[in-house]
Amino acid sequence: MGILEDTGRFLYGLVESAGRGTILFLQALAQCRYFPRNLDKFLGQVFVCGVSAIPVVAITATFTGMVIAAQTGTELKKYGLADLTIGPIVGASMCREMGPVLTAICVAGFVGGGMASVIATMRVNEEIDALEVMSINPVRFLVMPRLTAMMIALPLLTVFADFVGILGGALVAQFQVGVTYFVFFDYLKWALALRDIAFGLVKAWTFAVIITMVACEQGMSASGGAEGVGRATMRSVVYSFLLILVANYLLFSLVYRTIFTKVWS
């Protein structure tokens, strides 16, 4: 009974957070008309969301590309298919799946958690109340710059992750599987479609909205001192992970298999 109750409470919290995050997203979109006058906040957040996450994303993507090449390459080599397929497999896996999802997971933990804790601390210290009292809209001041920055930074990080992941895969193909760079990239170019990269970017934009909105919503609704800040941070990371995985499946089923394969065939 306890487990069922806990699961129900957790799912209720997840759905409630998604709902409040959706409302916050609409409010942030409405505040985008003030974007040109808040460029400094936007640029500061681009650094926080993008530049600071580069080392983590680079390491994760490189080793992911390497492990895909190592796992598939050694198996396919047995059947003499490594030359033909290792490049396309690494490329498609990175651009369509691993690049966007792993980058989003890294950023949700690394940046989203930080974002939630900063806003939650501001909430419990009455800094957000102070903004409202000063006639400063907290959504305009805190959420809109973070949302716009993340929507620029995450797709760029995803392209970067795709690139270094493919490079990592090419290294393993050359030195461990015995497929030369020339063969790896030749078949990769032949097989990798523009729609795979575009689909990866659509995913990245969706994940950017999820990460920012969950983090900001959890931060804005935090209460209860230091414990509340910790709870908001933890929930932000866990809810983001789950919503990213759910959205990833839905995007493949509803968007890629319908729009992308038909329009881009």
Partner: protein, 287 residues
């Protein structure tokens, strides 16, 4: 900016704030049970009460951070409880608020914190921003020149910091300030746009007696030099007697006694007497 014509402006006899029958419950638990309070223009009203008596809730209603279940909160004759979001934003520009923990933004310097209301107002509005001068009783004295706004705001920030005794602290971070300095920086931020009404949430809580006295002097100076109407939430009786034009006691969600300090301190009401004398026995149940 003000959104009102001269004909609509409140008269000198209109109270700065009038609260009528304010009721508020949280989760079925009543916190305010029908508060009636008048803040005359240019006067300081100190609302005393035990911790958890609803004082901060009352303050959050006055500034429009909370909506009442019942009752009216009239600011210059306009009901903030029924105002639209734009009207609330406009009304809030007439307020300055000093938070219990100062609520300075930790990522900004003292000067950036103090300048924040003006900087953000400049960024989001295209119209002129008119502010009264410190030495003038006229509300709309000088307009900040849009071409030189950064320099004008910096000068204003230095002026306000000097007024609260924090000259030279412009580039310090809030974490480098003591509790009393943070409160004074919070006060400088609250007065940077020359508000008509100042709200103080427990301004002397957690401060040593000398700093308490200094903060009390600042509250008096704000009234005398800027002519602002003030609401002070506190449980410091000594400070209240020094600063208040009107003292009031909030107990169990209602105002049980109010009047000028000389009358209030002689009140025969047993609840007021117990609070003033700080006795644990009496009609106020501590546990």
């Amino acid at each position: 900016m003000g959104g009102r014509t001269d004909a609509e402006k409140p008269g000198a006899d209109t109270p700065a704030i009038e609260i009528r029958g304010l009721r508020k419950s949280f989760g079925g638990r009543p916190v305010l049970r029908g508060v009636d309070l008048v803040v005359p223009r240019g006067k300081t009203v100190v609302v005393l009460g035990l911790s958890g008596s609803g004082k901060s809730t009352l303050l959050k209603h006055i500034i429009g951070l909370l909506k009442p279940d019942e009752g009216q909160i009239l600011v210059d004759g306009r009901d903030i409880a029924r105002a639209t979001a734009d009207e609330i934003e406009d009304l809030r520009w007439r307020f300055g608020m000093v938070f219990q923990n100062a609520a300075l933004l930790q990522s900004l310097t003292v000067a950036e914190n103090v300048a924040l209301p003006l900087v953000e107002r400049f960024r989001q509005s295209r119209g002129p921003i008119r502010l009264k001068r410190l030495d003038s009783s006229e509300r709309e004295g000088s307009a900040i020149d849009r071409r030189r706004w950064r320099q004008e705001i910096a000068a204003r920030v230095s002026e306000k910091l000097a007024l609260v005794g924090l000259a030279g602290s412009e580039n310090k971070m809030p974490s480098e300030l003591s509790g009393g300095m943070r409160k004074r920086a919070g006060l400088a931020r609250a007065i940077v746009h020359d508000p008509d009404i100042l709200l103080y949430d427990e301004p002397t809580t957690g401060l040593d007696p000398i700093i308490c006295r200094h903060v009390d002097d600042l509250i008096i100076r704000m009234r005398e030099r800027l002519g602002v109407s003030s609401v002070v939430i506190s449980h410091d009786v000594e400070g209240a007697v020094r600063t208040a034009d009107v003292m009031a006691l909030l107990h169990e969600g209602v105002i049980v006694g109010q009047g000028p300090p000389e009358e209030f301190t002689k009140s025969p009401d047993p609840v007021v007497r117990q609070f003033l004398e700080g006795r644990s026995e009496g009609p106020i149940k501590v546990l």
